[in-house]
């Protein structure tokens, strides 16, 4: 299973955010997309998720034999700002969510336990949840939908240390069946969980040389690459 991005271009007015960006992502790997602020990481994710139209290029899903455009069920995105119904309790939301998506093999309690939402918080309104808890729910929604391609936009920035650790473990456990793309500014996270690091710089995607990922050179080589041409 592959996700192919071919010559993707997207601009806002005169500002070209993505310029002929191309890359192939494969199943079983976690990719960290690194780039400076405004480099276009969220734009890239929105294009893949179908939320943004792009001027040219193709985004294709390949199962090894055939290639086709992505469908809604192929992709799940966890955005930085959670979008949730504020007047449902966390339990109700997940209970209804699994019903609507037909994922009733686990109970709502089991799903909530997966992201360490405590039973005492089950019946609180989502509007009273902290930002981190809302993010957990959103990530959980993505897990329940179980799409082939998972896009995580700044996934761990609002989680506490314990949940961050759990989510990292979860991502590593899930990766064999999925293609996971994660945008982050946290270099340590990128290094800990990613199999490959992809730089989004000047509108183009490029893979970091695996040799540069060794401990001593890691940070310096990324900064050098992102400064190049700036």
């Amino acid at each position: 299973m592959h996700l192919h991005i071919q010559n993707l271009s997207k601009s806002y007015g005169k500002q070209n955010v993505l310029k002929d960006a191309s890359f192939s992502f494969e199943q079983g790997k976690i990719y960290s997309i690194l780039g400076r602020n405004g480099a276009g990481k969220t734009t890239l994710f929105n294009c893949i998720n179908g939320d943004l139209k792009y001027e040219s290029g193709r985004i294709l899903y390949s199962d090894g034999t055939t290639e086709r455009p992505l469908t809604f069920s192929d992709v799940g995105m966890v955005s930085t700002s959670p979008v949730l119904p504020e007047y449902l309790t966390g339990y109700e939301f997940i209970h209804f969510f699994i019903k609507l998506h037909g994922r009733v093999e686990r109970s709502a309690e089991e799903w909530l336990d997966l992201v360490r939402i405590e039973p005492k918080d089950y019946f609180r309104l989502i509007k009273s949840y902290s930002f981190g808890m809302k993010n957990k729910l959103q990530l959980l929604c993505c897990l329940i939908r179980n799409p082939k391609i998972i896009l995580l936009d700044e996934p761990l920035s609002s989680f506490d240390i314990i949940v961050s650790h759990d989510i990292k473990e979860l991502m590593i456990a899930m990766k064999s069946d999925h293609i996971i793309l994660m945008s982050t500014h946290i270099l340590q996270l990128a290094k800990d969980v990613s199999d490959d690091i992809v730089l989004l710089h000047q509108g183009r995607l490029s893979a970091m040389d695996p040799e540069d990922l060794s401990d001593d050179k890691f940070e310096a080589s990324i900064i050098a690459a992102l400064k190049e041409g700036a």
Partner: protein, 529 residues
Amino acid sequence: MRNLLTYIRIRFSMQTNAFLYYLSKLPVIRLFIPQNVYRYTLPKILVSAFGFILDFVKNSLVSNLATVLFMYWIPGTIMQALGREEAANALLYAFFFITVRCFLPALENSRLFAPVRDDILFLNHFMMDPEIWYRQKFIKILWDNGIMTAPALIYVLRDGYLVFCLVCINLAAIAAGDYLSLMIFQRKSKIPERKKRWNVSVLLMLVLYASCIFLNFPDKIPDPWILAGIGAAALAICVAFCIPIFSFRDYKTVAVAFASGIKPVFVVQKISGREYDEFNLKEEDETVHMTQFQNLKHLDSWNYFDRILKRRMRKAFRNQIIQSIISNTISAVVCGLLFRYQVFGLKNSNILQYSTFMITTVIGMTYGRSFLELCFRNMDAPLLYHHFYDAAMIRISLLRRFRFLMLNGSLLLVIAMADVCIFLMTAGTWLPAYKLLTFGIVFALIFFIFETFHLIAYYLLQPFTMDCTVKSPLFTIVNKTEGLLSYGILFIRGDITNFLIPLAIMSLLAFSGFLAVLHISPSTFKIRT
């Protein structure tokens, strides 16, 4: 439709929770509401069942009353006024059903694209597949707007075959209208502006009603087999249009364009993200920003933001005024005709008894609340967040907004008075000059009280968080009370000039409140967390 019960439960669970939440914020009452109140499911299931039945009855009633009104009552009244009662027969009513209730709504509004709250709830929050969601939505549209009009048709026509035929034609019109919109969207990535379509369909409706002068339909209803044949043909057309609607694959794009967020804008209505862009609020070219900055950089931050906001919103401001003029003129003409032809016992002799309707109309024209929400979204939120506001600037902003709302109120007052004149002329009567002057003063006081009240509520309660969610239950209660008050006035009978003294007293109170808020606003005007 297997998810129908879940949809209903979600909708009503949210409503029940929101109700309990607001109750839990009220003094005294909150003492009786336990912390874990949201965990009990039985009350929510009962509310869901009750709410569903209530919604069903309400929707059916609205749909059927509208059908009776447009196909039967209006043409019947016009025929009566023209002295052509004998020409008002079943086929005439069927003609008006087909034109005014089937084809004009299909032309005016694509029901599939029209954003509803459920779109956001289920597409964004519950991540439903847009293809599944829009197909289900379309079935609901066919049911609500097509099949549910049958009781009204049976009541008016009392002929099963004719009713069957008309329901099928309605279904075909709905399907054709949405198919057309879908095709236009596919080709141009947008659909024609709703306001234009509305104007065209209102104009056509007036032309159709005017054609009552010469419309003549035979008294005899066609044979059942002809009606059944037409119905079957219409049904086949409906199916033919439904097939591409159901097999359409790109509903994700439709969802992104139309259900990405129902955004309140200056015009007091909810619009889709796509229409939001049509108001010229989308991202502008950076050169525009640069030129603006060069021209206005001498201003302080508040004035700069204020000027930019008003420049960017000018189309919306203009639309608001035009919308007021059009809708009020239509209302004035229709109400004038009711009095002229003495419908429902309305007569020129009791015209002042019903003048309280004008209070509700004028309250409906005020726009302080929408304007201030817009100010928060585009200006106050970033300024407050980045600590640009100090005590002096908060007071200055309050005074300038007061001036702005009063100036706009003056313009709306002129429109309201013009509408009174149109209404009186259409009704074929007139009022003494001193009465008209008192009307003007009453309207001016209403504008003053309500716009000042909106300002006071905004600066005193500042209800919004950074993401523009209302966090003040008191603000919500105040708004609902204002809505109920406007509605309640409709039931009061009497000359509105009698309201002059109470309104004058309320104005003094509002002004005192304004002065008090001017004094304390620096400590109350903060971002809610």
